[in-house]
């Protein structure tokens, strides 16, 4: 080959390489979800972020859009009180905007119950929440439930305030 051809080849190669340089995709794949633990609502702000921009339809978007991803319950109770209704209404609205997003609802109980009973109680709370959302038009096929009993508290104290915070159902958007 002639020297010119070599140079041309080299230049072409350089351009090609430059053109193959990886561009940052407009939308990053979602952050991996920890499959063995409830999503810490405080950490959720980073899910789906791309350089600070929250991806619409992600769990982070859900948390900043709805009034809360968590509803709370009275001692040994699993009924949806008026405060919870308002929160779940706002969740249902967001879920209507993103009909393809699936959710899991975690049910939790406070430490002042025995191990097995609390698993069942967490399940009751998750299902009560799911049933309310279903009544608000969220398709059941989008929703799964899981109970953590008293295994994953968010408040670590042994006082009424901590216990009240731990009696909860958390809606998590699955990415």
């Amino acid at each position: 080959m002639s020297k010119l051809s070599n140079i041309l080849l080299a230049c072409t190669a350089l351009i090609a390489v430059a053109g193959c340089a990886k561009k940052r995709p407009a939308v990053l794949p979602p952050a991996p979800v920890d499959t063995n633990a409830p999503v810490d609502p405080n950490a959720g702000m980073n899910n789906g972020n791309v350089g600070g921009a929250i991806v619409p339809g992600s769990d982070a978007d859900f948390q900043r859009s709805v009034s809360s991803n968590t509803v709370n319950f009275g001692l040994d109770m699993y009924d949806i009180d008026p405060t919870a209704r308002a929160i779940l209404d706002s969740q249902a609205q967001w879920l209507a905007k993103f009909p393809n997003q699936r959710i899991t609802i975690e049910g939790h109980a406070d430490e002042r119950g025995t191990r097995e009973y609390n698993l069942a109680l967490g399940d009751r709370r998750a299902n009560a929440t799911k049933n309310y959302l279903a009544a608000k038009g969220v398709s059941s096929s989008r929703m799964t439930t899981i109970s953590y009993g008293k295994e994953r508290p968010v408040a670590m104290g042994s006082d009424d305030q901590s216990w009240a915070a731990n009696r909860r159902a958390v809606t998590v958007v699955l990415n």
Partner: protein, 533 residues
């Protein structure tokens, strides 16, 4: 596959080498073999005797661990114990020959010379002073378990700790003990022991057999009557040597109290570590005295409420593996586990039936939890309860005919008993307050439970609900489990606040002798296994 010794009991897998403590399965140490209870006829036929065997026992000889003995043994047809003990390299005198029929069971506790009896009813009023000197060895031999002189000391420590921890005995302190020569094992120095105040004396010996096994002899004496009460011998593999100590302690305990044995048993539980909001939980197994502890799972998934199968070869428990809380049967020998119920959203609170054929468990469907039964091989569950309340926590009576469980169908958690087929469900708790986690005693006479009120307390009641007695009084005691003889209860105690942790504790059924069970980390959900055969 190892062949049975003498064909009297099932074969065993290879036993792990002492010190092998892998955390994952693949561990052949599960279900450490049954003992072949071989009735031995004391023989005076020296020609048939192996020169290595121990002094004759006029009682039952137990083979602990089931490892194949050497061929001399097999060809003899049974363990021949030479009366007279003249086969020892050292000069061991003839052991005292009790006149009892070799096949006769140990005499009941009330029928003893000198009336040596430990009163277990009504509480522990006066623990019996007992001397347990170091067990000598005929010849110091190095074994995989250690050298036999060290083992002899450790064996006496195992017996000492077991008996002391029962709360019914006060072993002499090491300073009051004196070395026991090998001949003295069967000819005790009663004058000396009497002067220490000991009422009972436990002496024994350990010997390394030529085939790698160890022989441990155990003798119990009444000091004031200067009489032997009972004796037993054990042949163990080096990896099972501690069981000989526990069996010896069980022999002493049952002979003097009339209660069933419980020292040669294991506990499975959930080892805990890490912060309160994200506890790392691992299945763990250990001897009831805390020895031979090992982890069975690696902590990646939350694990809860493990319980032994009656044959001790597997454990049923609940795991959040793959984010799907469900019950699994874990095979201790292979480390493999299998899902028990497929296609269920939430199964938990499992327990084996006494015959091992079924697993009782709870299943939540559509927000309602009921008690079900399924074959332990898996399959279609059979529903046993059907109330709109939360029904959970089932436990069988030891004869398998009834089940005790908890239900909040009346508004709060209470205890109910039903037939094993789910019929005739009757509430039995009426003491005011709420009741949970009921567990039937292996003796059938009592049900232990967690009582919820101001705090959580461990309690017991009769199967009809009467005679309620609370045994503990701390902030949060929960989840009782019975010892094999129905006398001691394990449970876990939680502490308050963000730094609160859970630990394993035990208490006697009379409410005394509350003690913490040592574990490497924190612990919860203890389940006491059956007496090992």
């Amino acid at each position: 596959m190892t062949r049975s010794i003498l064909g009297f009991f099932p074969s065993r897998q290879t036993l792990p080498v002492a010190g092998d403590r892998s955390t994952h399965g693949n561990h052949p140490g599960g279900g450490r073999g049954p003992i072949g209870k071989v009735d031995v006829t004391t023989r005076n036929d020296h020609s048939a005797a192996s020169p290595n065997w121990a002094p004759a026992f006029a009682g039952v000889v137990h083979l602990v661990g089931g490892r194949r003995a050497r061929s001399v043994l097999a060809s003899v047809g049974l363990l021949a114990f030479v009366s007279g003990g003249a086969a020892y390299a050292q000069d061991a005198p003839a052991p005292q020959q009790t006149p009892a029929d070799p096949a006769a069971p140990a005499a009941p506790a009330g029928d003893q010379s000198g009336g040596l009896v430990v009163d277990v009813t009504g509480g522990i009023s006066a623990p019996m002073p007992i001397a347990i000197p170091v067990m000598p060895t005929a010849a110091v031999v190095s074994t995989p378990a250690g050298s036999t002189d060290v083992l002899g000391r450790q064996l006496s420590e195992i017996v000492t700790n077991d008996l002391r921890n029962s709360g019914l005995f006060t072993p002499l302190s090491p300073g009051q003990l004196r070395p026991v020569s090998f001949p003295e094992v069967t000819a005790p120095g009663f004058e000396y022991w009497g002067s220490t105040g000991a009422q009972a004396l436990v002496q024994g010996f350990i010997r390394a057999n030529g085939d790698g096994n160890l022989t441990v002899g155990c003798y119990l004496y009444d000091v004031s009557s200067k009489a032997e009460l009972t004796r037993t011998g054990f042949v163990v593999s080096p990896s099972d040597w501690r069981r000989a100590g526990h069996k010896c302690a069980d022999m002493v305990y049952t002979r003097l109290t009339g209660e069933g044995a419980y020292f040669d048993s294991r506990v499975v539980y959930v080892s805990e570590t890490g912060p309160k909001g994200r506890r790392i939980k691992r299945l763990a197994i250990m001897d009831q005295d805390g020895a031979n502890h090992r982890f069975l799972t690696n902590g990646q998934s939350i694990v809860l409420t493990p319980r032994f199968a009656p044959n001790q070869q597997s454990i049923v428990y609940m795991s959040y593996l793959n984010n799907r809380p469900a019950i699994y049967v874990y095979d201790i020998g292979s480390g493999k586990q299998r899902l028990v119920v497929a296609n269920a959203n939430l199964t938990f609170a499992p327990r084996f039936s006494p015959d091992g054929r079924n697993i009782l468990f709870s299943m939540a469907q559509g927000g309602n939890t009921d008690v079900y039964r399924v074959s332990s091989q898996g399959g279609t569950p059979q529903r046993l309860t059907n109330s709109p309340g939360i029904d959970t926590g089932g436990s069988y009576s030891p004869d398998g005919s009834k089940i005790v469980f908890e239900s909040d169908r009346s508004g709060g958690q209470q205890i109910y008993v039903m037939n094993a087929d789910g019929s005739n469900q009757q509430r039995i708790s009426f003491g005011g307050g709420r009741y949970a986690t009921p567990v039937w005693s292996p003796r059938g006479d009592l049900i232990a439970f967690t009582k919820l009120g101001g705090g959580f307390r461990i309690g017991i009641m009769s199967p009809s609900g009467g005679g309620e007695k609370l045994l503990t009084n701390d902030w949060q005691d929960e989840g009782p489990s019975w010892s094999p003889n129905g006398r001691v209860i394990n449970f876990y105690r939680s502490g308050r606040g963000s730094g609160g942790k859970a630990d394993l504790w035990s208490v006697d059924l009379t409410g005394v002798n509350e003690r913490k069970i040592p574990t490497p980390l924190d612990g919860s959900d203890p389940a006491w296994g059956p007496l090992r055969p």
